[in-house]
Amino acid sequence: MNILETKNINKYFHDPVEFQVLKNISFTVGKGEFLSMIGKSGSGKSTLLYILSTMDTEYQGQLTIDGQNVTGQSNDQLAAMRNQKIGFVFQFHYLLPEFSCMKNVMIPALKLGKHSMQEIEAKAYDKLKLLGLEDQALKPASKLSGGQQQRVAIARALINDPLMIMCDEPTGNLDSKNTAIVFDIFKELTSQQGQTIIAVTHDEEFAKNSDRIIEMKDGEVV
């Protein structure tokens, strides 16, 4: 079953000069797949990731997520969809420093508003436990180490049980030990929970161990 499908995606940058970043990108991603996107800087892999994540809407072509055509939907519709179906992990953790780890993890679920406070708390605690952070739950996010913060960010990406997790250099700021932990978590998510992971990475080792690699060069899939 395909969870994500792109058809002839083209994107241009207009500033400072007209430049085609993506050229006729067409591929599909299946459910439970662990996909790595690699390529040199400027190859367009990050740009593609942001289009796939629906945050960048200025492109030509067609993007289908979970059987639904998302091209041309309004920003509010896309936001609601992201909230429910997509989790995000970036190179930087982007936690809200004023809140506890627990609260940070809970925010997307509170936004979704489908469960009661107790259910959300229980779920957030489960996710933190999954990432080995249950003792840190009530600490402010700013007091944790870099590796811990990144794992909290992953727990936050998982809270709504999204279909897909989009990662931009998820291990870029981590040492080898933490990278291994994150990688193992991703592996487990895809194989056991059936969640799809699309990760942009520079880490050869990380990419090699994933299910599938898409290599980009000059805006094209190689």
Partner: protein, 407 residues
Amino acid sequence: MNINTDIGSTYLFTNKKLTLVAVMGVLLGMSIYIFMNSMLVGFDRTSAESIFKSTAHIRVYKDDELSKPLYQSKGGKSIIINPKVVPASNTIINPNEVVALIKKDPNVTIVTPQVSATIFYNVGKTQIAGMAIGVIPSEADMMFNIKSTIVEGDFDKMQNNTNAIAVGSGVAEKLSLKINDNINITSSKGVNRNLKVAAIFKTNNSAIDKTKSYINLSAAQQLLQENNTYITDINVNIKDPELASKVAPVLTTLTGYKSEGWKEANESLMAAFRMRKIVITFVSYTILIVAGFGIYNILNMTVSQKINDIAILKAMGFKGNDVIRIFLTQALSIGVMGVIGGMIMAVVLVTLLKKVYIGGDIGFFPIDYELTKFIQGAIVGMVITFFAGYLPARKAAQVDPVSIFRK
């Protein structure tokens, strides 16, 4: 609690210093706004009070008329080329009937007739020009509160003594008059009378004190060699002085005589009041708007500081409106705290100033707790806060998360 307000209030309380500065801004603006506007109300009230010591709300009198042709001319040419004032007496015909008619109006509270006579106060060979106002003492006192201006003697003694006179303090000084002294006056008709000083009054206007005196209505009629139906003015007080301009035309049509409200009679004074109002309104609004800039600045700063948070929230599915709500929560919380604080501060300021003694016929500083101004201030304060918060909030809502993540 909604997650948007939750985040908004967390930003508010983790940045206590900034919040406090913004709240102080609104608080000061708010309190000065209420304070100055309460002061304005007080000023207007005392000014009106001092005007009403010598002017009735509405004055009904017979205006001079220009002679009019009996027949309307045809072809636009006037029959009377150089019309003159009709040489008729300026008395109100059948004054008792007119007074009764005016009294029927439900707005009217006091109606009293008056005769003004230009006179000379005689001292030896010199004569001092002046004005004697013939009144019914008890009614005139009700209307102008004359007793409050009496510095010597007893105005009540005027009531049953047609030979009594109440003179201004300036007149008394020039003629070196004391209570129960006799004074000789001559009217424009050449009638001489000796009157006894019953009281001396002092208003806030020295020109009036140097010329004016009150005598009985019948004495004034005698001075002018007129009978007891001769009345030049009918003074009318109404329930709400502000309605004078509306009631006056009604009385004009009702009586057929010219009726003039106090605002029309004191046009230049009213212009000065309006100017005062414009200045105070301008200053008080400016102060509130400056407080609004404070909120705007601080929220703008918060938005810049929290740009990463905004980006990730938007990535995680927060809509533009959610982001606006987060920052509006902050702005409006600051506004509410500032408004409440400002009201307390205004109460303190008014309480302090109320106790300041100014002197003169004003006494204590004319300021009071004006509920309408407090409510008005709160509304204006919240509206300004809303816009000061909405602009940065909208900017935050328009943040493009991709451009933040790509840095």
